[in-house]
Symmetry: C2
Subunit: 282 residues, 2 copies
């Protein structure tokens, strides 16, 4: 199901082929989980999308984002909502128009319950995450590196991809953030390392203290990540996924008690946000 221009739509929509989202990847998006019509961590998703557009230099009214997301939230009992906003149409070339008319649309698809908390094995790609670009900290429409790396990962029999940044330190995967667990300490790459300020990443960091965990945002060397007791991948649909291997290096993430307690805490946070626990909705 789709939402476009303030109303539900079905099938193709009239579209301006001069839209800079299509021509130049000049836009940002968000992926959120809704359970039984309520969006998990709704405010955080809206704030991040509006801020991302502002970083690119155009304004998106938050109420339009909320309207689109809520219109789709009840599409399925368990819904994945993607909300996209582009800078809108512009003249030939790369310079933005002075008169910006952002284009906002959203789509909904049933989210597979099996995705949440499912373990993953990460392939290592030679493509680096470019932390020198502001785009590395935004969920922009330019997702081709993740697409190419995912293709290679699948061909090699893995679920997803580990990106290092240009300095050779751990950045993220193509679909979510990474956190390494050593003892009772969590380490996740700081935003400057070229990572998205993930919504579930922020939740985990904020829940850590209540679980008696130390949480640190700082550069994460690959060696330290491989030597960790456990590694988790976070994103809005998978929530907390234990990473069981990075390349041929096995990790003890499935049996780690910290991962188990973080998973419980995120489950409860989603339940508090949506009024129902993720496992209650199929």
């Amino acid at each position: 199901m789709l939402w476009c221009d303030g109303r539900p739509v079905d099938g193709p929509v009239p579209f301006d082929l001069a839209d800079r989202g299509l021509l130049l990847g000049d836009g940002v998006f968000d992926t959120a989980l809704a359970l039984d019509g309520r969006i998990a961590f709704e405010d955080a998703h809206v704030v991040r999308l509006v801020a991302a557009a502002e970083t690119l230099g155009f304004a998106v009214p938050p109420e339009r984002v909320v309207e689109a997301m809520r219109a789709l939230a009840g599409t399925a009992p368990r819904t994945a909502i993607r909300t996209t906003v582009t800078r809108g149409p512009g003249p030939r070339g790369i310079a933005p128009p002075t008169d910006t008319r952002p284009f906002l649309f959203a789509s909904a698809a049933p989210a597979r319950p099996a995705l949440a908390f499912a373990p993953m094995r990460l392939h290592r790609t030679a493509i680096r995450r470019n932390e020198t670009s502001p785009a590395s900290r935004l969920k922009t429409l330019g997702y081709l590196d993740a697409v190419l790396a995912a293709r290679d990962a699948a061909a090699a029999g893995f679920d997803e991809t580990l990106f290092l940044n240009t300095e050779g330190r751990v950045a993220c995967t193509g679909i979510g953030n990474l956190l390494a667990v050593t003892g009772r300490t969590l380490v996740t790459p700081s935003l400057e390392e070229g990572v998205l300020p993930g919504i579930v990443r922020a939740q985990v960091l904020s829940l850590a203290k209540g679980l008696g965990l130390a949480a640190e945002e700082r550069p994460l060397p690959l060696d330290a990540c491989l030597a960790a007791d456990a590694v988790i991948l976070t994103n809005s649909l998978r929530l907390v996924s234990p990473v069981t291997a990075i390349g041929d290096h096995a990790l003890g993430s499935l049996d780690n008690p910290v991962v188990a307690s973080l998973s419980r805490a995120i489950r409860e946070a989603v339940a508090a946000s949506c009024g129902m626990a993720p496992e209650a909705v199929s």
Copy 2:
């Protein structure tokens, strides 16, 4: 003017919002110059676009590209044609569909004669060109780094931007290739450095020998670029632009005899390709 789905169109077109070009930057494009209805270096543009799509893993029939470009070539006496091809629609997520239906469209706009051979001053950006990504060698839809860098360049009073790659060596600008001239030697970063195989870049390299010039594709350190007698930017609309400054470092590109002879040679090559010289068409 627009060409879409095998026919001329005007205004918005019916568009599938699940198109991966829009959602993920999963597509490539080409910009070409046409004079009085004839496309300069047509074959090279078609071959590069088809090969780029193939690198991404989908097929575009070259005859459809030719059809679109030729349909628009006579729109104005001097026409800039942008031809875009996306992987087409796909299901939620980043994995490509098994049934690929590429979407091809093209647009035409009058090309300003003043663009060709115009001198440019380059700003230096902190954003690096990511040569570890195959996308750095393709004209993909993910152009946000160039957009952001161009915004900064304009704000600082420059025309365009110099990108270094992640190793700190010269890569390219946001809109074209760079070549450094020292004595009678041309040096341009090799493709592995993270640059597009530009059509005019290839023309310059192939014309060099006939002009008694040595032409080398190899890594180009920034120091060597700044110490060059001249630097030129090449692209399909600007052809050969003398770079008169990089940041606050002035370059003698305007008065350089090699730049003058390369400009003449490109003018003649365009004339041979289009049946008329660029300056004959306003």
